[in-house]
Amino acid sequence: MAGKDMKSNRVYAKRVNISKSWYKFSRNPLSVLGLTVLIIIVLAAILAPYITPYPEHAGPYTNFPESGQPPNLRHFFGTDTVGRDVFSRVIFGYRFSLLLAVVVISLSVPLGIILGLIAGYTKRKWLEIGIMRITDIFLAVPPLVLALAITAMLSPKLLNQMMAISLMWWPWYCRLVYSVTSSLRNEYFVHDAELTGARKGFIMIRSILPNCVGPILTKITLDMGFVIILGASLSFIGLGVQPPKPGLGTMVADGAKRLPAEWWMTVFPALAIVLVILSFNLIGDGLRDMFAVEEI
């Protein structure tokens, strides 16, 4: 009994205490490092036109006399086959990657949460089974394969890539929220709310959803990394950001043709991908610790 009561209190007591959370998060130095790196990357991506040495190199620009230069003081990451500064292009490439991740997450997470809540909370068995079986169908193939197929059947553009990946991403959230919701459906605080005559939408959002915040936030940060990997993979095949715009995956693919002599065209964009994903993963770990401590 005591356990149940405490659990119900927990929901209402769960006001986000920022300084306490930050303390827990900052206990893991790697997560703080990840956050710092990510903030730098995001700022650099937003301010790209102002801080990059050659902002005009992010588009259809050629400067053949300077093509194929190895890294030097004027071009930190060298120049590519038509003489564009790889450093500037990498910073601009981050814009597309981050944009992709933000758009995909903000499209797929609300959809997944809503469907998961409905499937977990509803008392109509057919609705629950229906939603979860559709989820199963989407999860039956690795997201890369179906996203690849869909983007290819549409036309290779960043927008279509975003749509295809979002279509593949909501089922993970649906399943996550569903499992939390269906385990909480018969808790006392939910019954309490039902007895006081709260509407279903209110119960789902105010009583159940706060309990999903921890896992969802952790998953979002980790998924930002995965979505960026997926986007880079699609652009690597040629189904993402179209040249002359600088996609990180596209740059890796273009440079790979010139290995090993002109390695900087591949290695720096590739390292840039690794860096951003690494920082998301480190933050995700920190968040997981933060929420895990709170659970106890």
Binding site: V141, V145, L146, A149, L154, P260, W263, V274, I277
Partner: protein
């Protein structure tokens, strides 16, 4: 007299114990509820997988048909006349409504026919037969690598937790998980083939060698069957880099999962009991600790396998591996609708089979899951 009777008594007790045991096993094998429920469970899972594959085919078929652009026109190119396009449309039932098209497609699928490629006009089954073994060889190889290395690092890191090895494996795993497999492939290619130069860069075997007669389609296995060890070695050299670049992320992940479950289990009383009783460390680890600790790792293996297949799509491009994934990317870029549907279904079916196997293995590792199923 007294002595004899005592012997007799002992023998009698022994017999009853043995008899009880025999009786027990007999009842279990006769009314083997455990196995019966396992079979039932596998059956249910199979039905579920079939349902999911059916839904998947419907989904991908639907997407393929509602996409803008006429597949017949795409297939014949802009130079074809309207009549030719119309003829092809009728040939592949594109002029009929969607459910009818799906019916035709499903009917031919049940006969084992996946249709013809809109481009090459070759039967897709024939293409798959040619390309699939190469990818399966690669994927299996990398699966084995990730399994072995993931377990070894996980066990070592868990046993020597908070040592330098644990720290190193944590660092490597962070980088491994954050590196997409195609980036890993390029790095490995750059270092081992281009800079160090002792591993060939592309293909399945060197061009100068003749591939062995095809039995399984796995070149290494085939050449071993044919007794050509040189070819097998050459094939092994070719497969090692792509397999490794697919495996690294999963080595990292499985290593971490195994580590944390070893750390969880090592604090339990039964391990302390074994140690106190003087059981050698090695057998404590491998005999008593590893089996329960494997459960979480094995459970994520199905997902790992799926991701290896997906990533093979890119790694095969980097290493020019003549496999299914490269075929898949080609048909996708060509908008070859029939082939795309076939490719997605094949991946889905492989995933379903692997998941089924994983579930069975997990239930053998964990008797509790078996017993739960017996109840329900």
């Amino acid at each position: 007299m007294n002595r004899r009777s005592r012997v007799g008594k002992v023998r009698k007790i022994k017999v009853t114990v043995e008899g009880g045991w025999v009786f027990h096993t007999l009842t279990f094998s006769l009314y083997n509820i455990q196995e019966y429920s396992m079979l039932k469970y596998i059956g249910l899972r199979l039905i579920h997988s079939l349902f999911v594959l059916f839904g998947l085919s419907l989904l991908i078929f639907f997407i393929a048909r509602v996409m803008p652009g006429d597949p017949a026109r795409v297939a014949l190119g802009p130079l074809a006349t309207e009549e030719q396009v119309q003829k092809l449309r009728e040939e592949i039932h594109l002029d009929k409504p969607f459910p009818v098209q799906y019916y035709y497609w499903l009917r031919s699928l049940l006969k084992g026919d996946l249709g013809r490629s809109l481009y090459t006009k070759r039967p897709i089954v024939k293409d798959l037969n040619e390309y699939l073994p190469a990818t399966l060889e690669l994927v299996l190889c990398s699966f084995i690598i990730s399994l072995v290395f993931g377990q070894v690092t996980g066990v070592l890191a868990g046993y020597f937790r908070n040592s330098w090895f644990d720290g190193l494996s944590r660092l490597v795993s962070y980088i491994g998980v954050a590196t997409p497999s195609f980036v890993m492939a390029i790095f490995l290619l750059l270092v081992f083939s281009h800079i160090l130069g002792f591993i060939p860069a592309v293909g399945r075997i060197s061009i100068i060698l003749r591939p062995p007669p095809r039995v399984t389609g796995f070149i290494i296995l085939d050449s071993l069957i044919a007794g050509q060890f040189k070819v097998a070695l050459n094939g092994l050299k070719h497969i090692i880099l792509p397999a490794l670049s697919l495996a690294v992320a999963h080595i990292a992940q499985e290593g971490r999962v195994t580590r944390s479950s070893i750390v969880d289990n090592i604090q339990k009383d039964y391990v302390a009991t074994h140690v106190v009783h003087g059981v050698p460390t090695r057998s404590v680890i491998f005999k008593y600790l590893l089996k329960p600790s494997l459960i979480p790792t094995v459970s994520i293996m199905g997902l790992d396998f799926a991701f290896i297949i997906a990533n093979a799509f890119l790694v095969e491009l980097v290493f020019m591996w003549p496999g299914f994934a490269r075929y898949a990317v080609t048909v996708m870029l060509n908008k070859d609708l029939n082939a795309i549907v076939a490719v997605v279904l094949i991946v889905g079916a492989t995933f379903a089979i692997v998941n089924l196997i994983v579930d069975i293995v997990v239930s053998f590792l964990d008797p509790r899951i078996r017993l739960q199923r017996r109840g329900g």
